[in-house]
């Protein structure tokens, strides 16, 4: 479980003016659910994610992970990132080039009192989970983009975090691999029962992967709900409809998940009948 309450973060610009990057954002993610923070670049979604991880210090608000409060602006309390039990996949993957796949993935287990045999076992397990068990001894520079992504995911999962944070993890992959990884990521998240926060600016991705989509704009949370909330029956507005059609064409190819959503959507008999609500086509 993850709960964010009244999160606020201001940044100073070079001229001394201050801009609210995150302005009073609150949400809750139930255990085993995936929440997507969706919005254009600069809307504060990454700052929110980094605040949860502890890489950014918010000005105010409260963040609770599982049963423990990790940040409280009121009590001036902030737990360091390495004690928050979060795993994170970065946009650049941040795989350490001077280590092998094994060393990268085993790193989070060092210094927390796990025996060498146990480390080996857990690294092998998590690599099998992401389909990289054959690459365990490979040096990191000899990995493709998709493989680096899987290593990053394995490294984020190996210490069994309470919350998994994903910062635009698919944006550096080519279109085909992106679809494949999106499905894999969703399957994995549901199988392991992970609580996850996923940041993206891609509407399709958000609709296809989430339990809850939170739309952010200019630092505020403007809409919040399950993917079906953002879908309606066929629209007459042709410009918007063409975007929706393109969106859903992609979705149909990529995931069965969307078919199920179509069934739940009022006024739509199949996936080709859905269009997306205006709040999702802001950018």
């Amino acid at each position: 479980m993850l709960r964010v309450t009244g999160l606020k973060k201001k940044f100073e610009t070079d001229r001394g003016a201050s801009v609210a990057a995150v302005d009073n954002v609150s949400f809750e993610v139930e255990t085993g659910k995936l929440l997507t923070l969706l919005g254009p670049s600069g809307c504060g979604k990454t700052t929110t994610l980094r605040s949860i991880a502890g890489l950014e210090e918010p000005d105010n608000g409260e963040i609770q992970i599982g049963s423990s409060v990790v940040f409280s602006g009121l009590r001036k309390f902030s737990l360091p990132p390495n004690r928050r039990r979060v795993g994170m996949v970065f946009q650049s993957y941040a795989i350490w080039p001077h280590m092998t796949v094994f060393q990268n993935v085993a790193y989070p287990l060092e210094g927390i009192g796990v025996s060498k045999i146990e480390v080996r076992k857990r690294v092998e397990q998590v690599l099998a989970l992401v389909g990289l068990e054959a690459f365990i001894e490979r040096p990191a520079p000899f990995l493709s983009g998709g493989q680096q992504q899987r290593v990053a995911l394995a490294r984020a999962l190996v210490a069994e975090p309470e919350v998994l944070l994903l910062d635009e993890p698919l944006s550096n992959l080519d279109a085909k691999l992106r679809e494949q990884m999106r499905v894999e990521l969703r399957t994995l998240q549901q199988r392991v029962g992970l609580t996850a926060v996923y940041v993206t600016h891609d509407q399709i991705e958000a609709l296809a992967i989430s339990d809850i989509v939170a739309v952010m704009s200019a630092g505020r949370l403007v809409e919040f709900g399950p993917p079906t909330r953002y879908m309606t029956g066929p629209r007459v507005d042709s410009r918007r409809n063409s975007l929706a059609q393109a969106t859903l064409c992609l979705c149909r190819r990529s995931s069965l998940w969307m078919e199920r959503l179509a069934g739940e959507c009022p006024g739509a008999k199949s996936i080709s009948h859905i269009s997306v609500k205006p709040s999702l086509t802001l950018w």
């Binding site: 991880a53 502890g54 890489l55 360091p80 990132p81 390495n82 928050r84 979060v86 795993g87 994170m88 970065f90 946009q91 650049s92 941040a94 350490w96 080039p97 001077h98 790193y107 989070p108 060092e110 210094g111 990053a152 490294r155 210490a159």
Partner: protein
């Protein structure tokens, strides 16, 4: 030095710009002036390094600090901040420095070290004021040979010194190119 460069580049510590500025100031100080100030300072300052190798070592530290700072900050800027952040999520900061930052900085460290070595090797201005017959760097020793009129020994010594400095410069270049970091 790389720690200061890292603080300046990555943290929001109050006064880090001042750090950066102070580390850069020695570039404006001539070698002779630095030598004289070191003598005056450590004649009265209660740290007994006057007349030892340590005072020369300290003077070199000051003299080459600006360049090493530049080399190190260039090396740090090349490392994506997410490399360190990925480590901070699962390890204390000391482990991040030791296991992630320093290994990634190694090419820059090596390049900086070799640059300083090849320059300090033939340094004369500062060392000549701070050395005595027991603590005599190469530059000062060569100057002494010249004064004594031992031109044969001086020539041979000069060839050896040139070779050593030249070789270390070659090594610096190879290291720099291998890791995509160029040293001028």
């Amino acid at each position: 030095m790389s720690l200061i460069a890292w603080i300046v580049a990555r943290t929001k510590l109050f006064g880090r710009k001042l750090f950066d500025f102070l580390a850069f100031v020695p570039i404006a100080v001539p070698g002779i002036v630095l030598g004289i100030s070191m003598i005056w300072l450590y004649l009265s300052f209660p740290l007994p390094i006057y007349g030892t190798l340590w005072i020369i070592w300290l003077a070199y530290m000051i003299k080459y600090m600006p360049v090493v700072m530049r080399i190190m900050s260039a090396a740090i800027v090349q490392i994506h901040p997410e490399m360190e952040e990925a480590s901070m999520l699962c390890a204390p900061w000391l482990m991040t420095l030791r296991r992630v930052l320093f290994p990634l900085l190694r090419p820059g460290l090596v390049a900086g070290w070799i640059w300083v070595m090849s320059h300090a090797f033939r340094e004369l201005n500062t060392a000549i004021l701070l050395s005595n017959q027991h603590t005599r760097p190469v530059g000062v020793a060569m100057y002494a040979l010249w004064n004594d009129g031992a031109f044969g020994a001086l020539a041979a010594f000069g060839v050896v010194v040139s070779l050593v400095v030249f070789l270390s410069a070659v090594v610096a270049n190879v290291v720099g190119q291998r890791y995509g970091l160029r040293v001028r």
